[in-house]
Symmetry: C2
């Protein structure tokens, strides 16, 4: 018995792809992914159209998708994130129907609840056996965790595994079991390793970034949360990584034994694991080779599905037990609402990812950003797009000082008592405006190009076209 089929085209035919169906992709191969384009080329050749693509994220490597949108092979997108190149096209109004942006926890939740049915899931996997037991931990295109692919495998009517490392049955240490898989397609290469994971994610050397990182670590230190059992997530931005490095030094020095590091995992979190800062890493996505290697070899570094990571309708998810998360922002307003969807000109160039999931779950959700970026103040009166509601953001850390959400009175007291430069968020706005002047209002069109859907399925905000 074997599920191996000779070509992608045959798998598509066997799955019965028809006009108007919904197909899904995960983003573990990031900007090195070949699979989405490979599938869409075949679909296009078959003359099938009016499709919905439900992708956990889209990167600029997927720019050929624009042609498929222009010729109406694809007429709707659901995604948690878009890179700037794809985002610009969406902002210019290439799709008639608004893009649906979800969060990394909301996407699996909506899939499992049947709100976003998927007809065929195409899973790019670095290693699979002939029956579809598969993993991202090994293979020439190893990406580590396949966390975001689990809901697709579990929910899609048909599931196609596409791999460049087909092995004998049964694969040991599968991530996704054969029970969910219909077909296995061996191909030459599922991605470009250089784009899948970076060799090492670089810590910032920028002095402004280092000041922010140091302040961020101090905020955590004095938050009352940094004690045995501490749990932590941070992004892969340079300043966030520097904050993790400073945090590690504090934890090692003070012999604090945390419980878990979470999220997209970098080598810096692996070093914290190795240094005894955490009991375990819970990994929904690997950002660099060190993370992939650690997931493969260290039993204390474990893969989790995006459901387990952040679904708001699971019986519980790891974000519910998170102490501290460090987050980015393109804008934050005086009510602490955060924008990570659009740039300062209003063009789409991001998305929630796990931003609002972790912010909702964490006891301390910290945004870290310089007060001025691209000659624009980071703090505004109203963000152009609410990606994460201000009620879930506890503190903004900038190089000039930190601002605390007024709802967090105890935290404000603690950080003030510790001598940290606590100020009003409006002060940070004014400081920036002294440098930049008061920014012009960005012109926006009257067409909705994207709906931002909160993790609970409600409409959080709309994004308009740029005329």
């Amino acid at each position: 018995m074997s599920k191996v089929v000779a070509s992608l085209q045959e798998a598509i035919r066997l799955c019965g792809l028809k006009d108007g169906m919904s197909i899904s992709f995960h983003h573990h191969l990031r900007n090195g992914d070949y699979v989405l384009n490979m599938v869409m080329d075949e679909v296009s050749k078959l003359g099938i159209g009016e499709l919905t693509i439900n992708a956990s994220s889209l990167f600029d490597v997927h720019l050929p998708l624009i042609t498929h949108i222009q010729n109406r092979t694809v007429t709707k997108l659901c995604t948690d994130y878009v890179s700037a190149g794809i985002g610009r096209w969406i902002s210019q109004g290439i799709l008639q129907e608004p893009v649906e942006f979800r969060t990394h926890g909301g996407r699996p939740s909506d899939m499992l609840l049947g709100r976003t049915p998927v007809d065929i899931a195409f899973l790019a996997v670095p290693t699979s056996d002939t029956m579809g037991n598969c993993t991202g931990k090994v293979g020439k295109s190893a990406c580590g965790s396949l966390g975001y692919a689990f809901p697709d495998a579990m929910c899609a009517k048909k599931v196609v595994v596409i791999t460049d490392n087909l092995v004998d049955y049964p694969l040991q240490n599968w991530s996704i079991p054969e029970t969910y898989v219909d077909y296995v397609v061996p191909v030459e290469a599922i991605g470009n390793p250089a784009g899948i994971v970076s060799g090492t994610t670089q810590i910032t050397r920028d002095p402004v970034g280092l000041v922010m990182a140091d302040l961020a670590a101090q905020v955590i230190r004095y938050s009352g949360l940094l004690k045995d059992g501490f749990s932590f997530q941070t992004g892969a931005g340079g300043a966030s990584l520097a904050a993790a490095k400073f945090l590690k030094e504090i934890m090692v020095k003070e012999k604090i034994q945390g419980s878990f590091g979470l999220g997209g995992i970098t080598g810096y979190l692996v070093e914290m694991l190795q240094a005894g800062c955490f009991q375990t890493l819970l990994d929904v996505q690997c950002f660099d080779l060190k993370a992939v290697e650690s997931l493969r070899t260290n039993p204390r570094h474990q893969e989790i599905s995006s459901i387990h990571y952040a679904s708001p309708t699971a019986k519980s998810a790891v974000v519910d037990n998170l102490d501290v998360v460090i987050l980015g922002a393109t804008e934050i307003d005086v009510d602490f609402n955060v924008n990570v969807h659009t740039d300062s000109s209003g063009y789409l160039m991001g998305g929630s990812g796990g931003h609002s999931d972790t912010a909702a779950g964490a006891k301390l959700a910290m945004v870290i950003a310089p007060i001025v970026r691209a000659r624009m103040p980071i703090v505004t009166d109203h963000v152009m797009c609410v990606s994460t509601p201000g009620r879930d953001i506890d503190v903004l850390v900038t190089e000039k000082g930190i601002a605390i959400n007024p709802a967090q009175k105890q935290l404000k007291q603690r950080l003030s008592d510790a001598g940290l430069p606590v100020m009003d968020i409006a002060q940070l706005k004014q400081m920036a405006e002294k440098v930049t002047g008061i920014p012009r209002k960005v012109p926006r069109g009257d067409r909705v190009v994207a709906n931002v859907i909160y993790r609970d399925g409600s409409l959080l905000d709309r994004v308009y076209n740029i005329p």
Copy 2:
């Protein structure tokens, strides 16, 4: 955040148990299980009744259940297996509604398809964290695999984890994730280790058993299946284990590298793994301490869910790729239909378990039994109960000779060519009858006490009461 509640009674109350609901249990603690009785005592105290119990198996340790049936706390049973003590009560007609017997693959299949909805699953687990990430691999009541508990966790509306080893969040190397769990109840002991797994499962020393075991190994050797990539399942009966031992000797001598050993795992399969006979063991249930230890420490020994093991409606299951399975029988008829539900007097004392699942999947399904047992011939004209249809049984091995299903012409030729004592199944029947005489027909009542439901959900046979 924590899901820990102070008592089982509180968990039952929080789950909203009401008259007429369905509750489920798994059988990994086997005849050492305390949890089913513990739960039923609380349920009984609360005065709730007319319940359905859906258990993956029931053992004599669960005999207190009879009282709960007598006072109508429980009015329906679904199970894959009953031990003789429970079986006798059922055969005497204690339940008005017939017991539904399923297979180990059919049970999860029917649960996932919504045919047997479960309101509350009570999971006995040897180790859990405060959010319900749990495993059977560690803890004072370690039972190894929790394979049969997965569908209950995935499908039940409410899931209660009952554990005697509550650990800090997050547990490393969970089997069942918190995403499925509602409440965690710490108790003094979930079971009696002496009844959970045996120290060592004993190989037969009975000369008749050794003859059968040797013949069974020869059948496998000459079946054409014993080559690199070979896969194998056997039960924990003494002759089956002896067959595994003889098979191991052949494989080691002939340097045959099999792919996987499957099923309920004993130390004998662990030894085959260690000797290089298999690449991996796929473990739905551990039968002895050596299996538990191996599952905990050897990454090539892996836990599988009962869905992955045998579900006929999963996209595929491991049984679909199985080469050889060795099975038992209380009776086999001249059409190769096998009975594993009732004893020679017609009393229930078993059940399919994985019998018909593996028989359906395996390329070679072999039944091993002495021609006479308890002074009754093993071969009959018609089995009292069809547990596994004859079309799925390929060969019967006895100490007096082997009989091949007439549909397997090539196999018959191969084994005859190899000089093995191939005979007609009717000959084996006659041989036995010469010793025992022609057995009297067992009297049976006119009330159906059990329905045997095949793995696809269809009714395979009925079992009648014993008057």
